[in-house]
Symmetry: D2
Subunit: 350 residues, 4 copies
């Protein structure tokens, strides 16, 4: 299995000039695309339509290139919010059977899956956790990956809009519930949490239960979950490898360096970094009070993306990184998983 | 009892030039001040320090004029948020025994009271409801008012900051809980709700329970509740009168006109209008979808103040009105009480 | 000429279920659509992608219904910003030659036109004014309208993004410049301003020069201007009529009533109201200080839409009205044009 | 001359409990305070009243401790904006003549000064530049510092509110103009720019002219400029030393390390770091597009503080640092000066 990753800048959510150039020049074969992970420039919260706009544009474009049915098989995950230095871009993943000249070696493999749609009152529930767990397992199977070799599980999950809401839950809160349940589903599939450990009331309450590799992003543009998993395996034939670490807090610059080191490659070989973040729910970072949770003018998910985006970008001196807000059950409270895809600097050992 | 109301523009939260002019010119005797209700230009949400800034400035100024102990007896209620056309101002209420030349007649009377401080986990609880109910009764006694003649109950109540919060409640949500419990306290004191009707789980859940005259405003600048009541009684000796109505929705312009009519005076006699508002929790106003509850960039309390501020101001062609956001248990869902103080256009009947 | 207007709610910028229902049921013939004026739920400022998202969705949908070439002939004008009670919707205008059974009478007619694209440094310039003036004249010709019978000129105009900007002009400022130049173009075409009166330095400086019927809206989603004009003429055959007035300030509720009266129809016959607004540049409304221009957290165009939206909606008790922010050279400073389309309550006089 | 720096957390703009504790315990002698530099939790833009609230609170408190006249001699500079991880705090600087036991050595010295008030139309003008230049020279004299040994010049400067504004300048823009002119004044006093190089039209236009040590912060709470300078000199007797560097861009983490190294002390000895920042006016950081200048919901100065605050805090793993937004003529476009005060790790060489 050969996985390639093309990191493509976007001038706006509907800008596909970079993707089109790669396809026109023959660098990227659109029939091989299995997933597109985008960072779009909306507010990343409830009324962020840049995610849906980018997805609609991609589907229409790829529908023309490879047919609507094939375009529909691709997993599209758009995460809103490019606060601070974060730079809007698409991560286009392609997958192909290893070519005859390539022999398998230890490196990046990838799988995808989808859940059924969820009803509004299922979002954030134990039923959602279980359904996501099954789908993550399906993605592992698709990648031929074992849990211990997984480094990143990306899940796009739905939210509840105010006009669908049951009494007392805001649409913004439903995003947190949805991300939390999705992350716990991944944790169960990966064996990080045992199903019997998980009581319904623990969801978005007991944050000591978490996954070290799950990354969940909620959006108004879908009703089900769409999933991809990244890991390393012996049947890889490409020149990419993935590593990860867990940030303990928003300024955990050492964790970013550890995640890079986990790929076995120098920082110059990094293709992209994928991190989840949140404003520390304790109200303090490194024992210093922060004001993100009491700022009624700027959502704390927006601010936390600006912070961790700056930290990650400073390490590799590249602001075109993927940082997504809201890390409920994704890493410890105030922290979050960070994964790195690097290019193998020398010919892989076969 | 003679109540006077001075409506004074402010150029900033610490601008007391208007008040000082009235005092210097002998128009306003600072020893007679019993309450100051301000509309300050912060965001009206958690991190709004304009309320505390105005209060601190007032206390220091009046402390010099009338002594710190006397200044401390005054009820200071600052409500943040002058979105749209709303114009920052102070409502300075004075009270004096009727002078010898004045005979009593039907008109405005006023009373004040305070509760004990509340612990963070009491905020929004049944204990808070009961404590507020007792304090509202004390304010009625202070005014020598009977419940059926009350037209406006203003309560300033505390909130829970994120660093004090128990798990799972945001500081923004605690403002709603606090306002809701305070309003229910008023409703019980006024006989609008029977104590046995009120279950703890109804607070901020069953919005069919509400007061028609309570107006609660939460802020970081106090830990207890401060209260004043306005009503009409036969022992009034001043030239003001109060009326009220209940807005059923944010565009209920007829209710504003009814409240004016309830004073028995023409619109030209209005001194100020006091209204509570909220973004309709159903997600629609007059069966048309609104987007306030799904806008993650602007708090819905801010937007709802802009809306009702414009409606009220348009009726009397004066944007210097008091409109406060967050009307949990204050009027029906999506609506809120509206009170009017007018000047008697002819000599009161004695 | 018969003009019809369908006012269609949208649940999101890409929701065409209402339009589709009208087309499927035969109520609306898509080949007759000449213009679609939408109010979408973005911030209405620079990074509002709801406008482009709605337009892309409409073009793709109508392209399937009537062919891409025909869909491209339609004028699409999306104005962002549904602050407060404003409700997202589309105004779909159709035009057809009067049918045999209908005889012409005084009523609504409509024309459309487009300009060439503008370079970034042309935006807000005298060259833009002149080009728009010619295009407005073309739209008048298309409608067979004379200037004195025009009631509304809608112009969608471009802006300059920060990465295209010359030194010293923000993208937000370029929106104002673009709207101002477009409105002056309309004023010249309508004879409200003589070309020789207009010096280049007057653009967005001398606001005593203005149009009483122009409404300009800037967006990132186009580089040229797209225009439609509405007026009354003797060759109308439909059952609509248009009127207008000029709001002198944000609370000019009488102007809204005048505009309704100008149609000769009672308020119950109003189909939609179209208004332009701005935060009064003097810093005061009706001699009361407002804080919109000094609020660094919420753009003043957003707040001013919430205000005027509430006022207009309160008059007709319908929040699904079209209110657009930024009224440079559109009505007097702090005010703006307001137009009303009403349905003739009885059979038109033929 | 002995300079001490106390870095004191604040729980709110009016929280002086930390300062009071130091004074009560005898650690800090209030008669020795010459300047207080605060980072308060407002929006840092026009309508940020946390600056004035903190200053009012400090003046009242210190007035009681040392008398109103002495309290008035202190330079109070409050800079708003603690976005992201930045933690609200006060930097209280004390100055005393070296005690008998201390011999002079190379280390931190400090001087203060003030300008006259500026009229609104002077703000951002060449007249302001010249007046600030003279005042910076006065502060150098007060510190007995030569320009080549200066590492940080902090200037608090006024802004123009919308109700004072001449046509066409927003209050937000006036903040930039004021900071720019103040920084150019410092640059002239320090010999970084020759007076004859500076044309009036260069102010806030030609950003190739800049100071490497100036830090200017605008606020509504004063009409003049208040200034302090930090540098090293042979007549120091305390245990602090200052260094600086210039960040070339928002992610210039090496410049932060250089500034620390410039003090000759290890990172563990850092007391505080002082940085100026801005959203890169080119629209890109390290050749990657950023969206800060086109985001109409969050001011770019707010976002840029979050970014550089995170970078600086990550280096020393302490979020209680001073980062201030808007670096016009303060460092190169997109960058800004960064200064570090460290404690001498061993006994200073005498």
């Amino acid at each position: 299995m050969r996985i390639d990753l093309h990191k493509i800048p976007q001038a706006s959510p509907d800008d596909l000039s970079g993707l089109d150039h790669l396809i026109q020049s023959g660098t990227l074969d659109p029939t091989q695309i299995i997933a597109i992970l985008g960072k779009t420039e909306g507010n990343g919260c409830v009324n962020d339509f840049t995610r849906g706009f980018a997805t609609q544009t991609l589907k229409a474009y790829l529908g023309e290139k490879i047919g609507a049915a094939a375009a529909k098989q691709i997993v599209y995950i758009m995460s809103g919010g490019t606060e601070g230095v974060l730079s809007p871009h698409l991560n286009v993943f392609t997958r192909q059977a290893g070519s005859l000249e390539e022999s398998p070696h230890w490196g990046l493999v990838m799988g995808i899956s989808r859940t059924r749609p969820f009803a509004p009152d299922e979002i954030g529930s134990l039923a959602m956790v279980k359904t996501v767990a099954q789908a993550v397992q399906a993605a592992l199977d698709d990648a031929r990956l074992t849990p211990e070799n997984v480094h990143f599980v990306q899940i796009k999950c739905p939210l509840v809009q105010s006009n669908q809401a049951e009494s007392g839950r805001s649409s913004y809160q439903s995003m947190a519930d949805s991300r939390g349940a999705a992350a716990l589903g991944a944790a169960i599939a990966l064996g990080e949490i045992q199903p019997e450990q998980l009581q319904p009331e623990a969801i978005c309450q007991n944050f000591n239960l978490y996954s070290k590799t799950a990354s969940a992003s909620a959006g108004v543009e879908l009703q089900n979950c769409e999933i991809f998993v990244l890991g390393n395996a012996a049947h890889a034939t490409g020149d990419l490898i993935v590593g990860h670490a867990v940030m303990q807090h928003a300024l955990d610059i050492e964790a970013v360096r550890s995640a890079i080191a986990d790929t076995g490659q120098p920082p110059s070989q990094v293709v992209n970094i994928f991190a989840k973040v949140e404003a520390d729910p304790s109200g303090a970072v490194l024992n210093r009070r922060h004001t993100m949770l009491d700022d009624s003018d700027i959502s704390h998910t927006r601010m936390s993306r600006a912070v961790v985006g700056a930290v990650v970008a400073a390490v590799i001196q590249d602001p075109m990184v993927y940082v997504s807000g809201g890390s409920e059950h994704q890493g410890p409270p105030g922290g979050g998983p960070v994964a790195v895809i690097s290019r193998l600097s020398s010919a892989p050992v076969r």
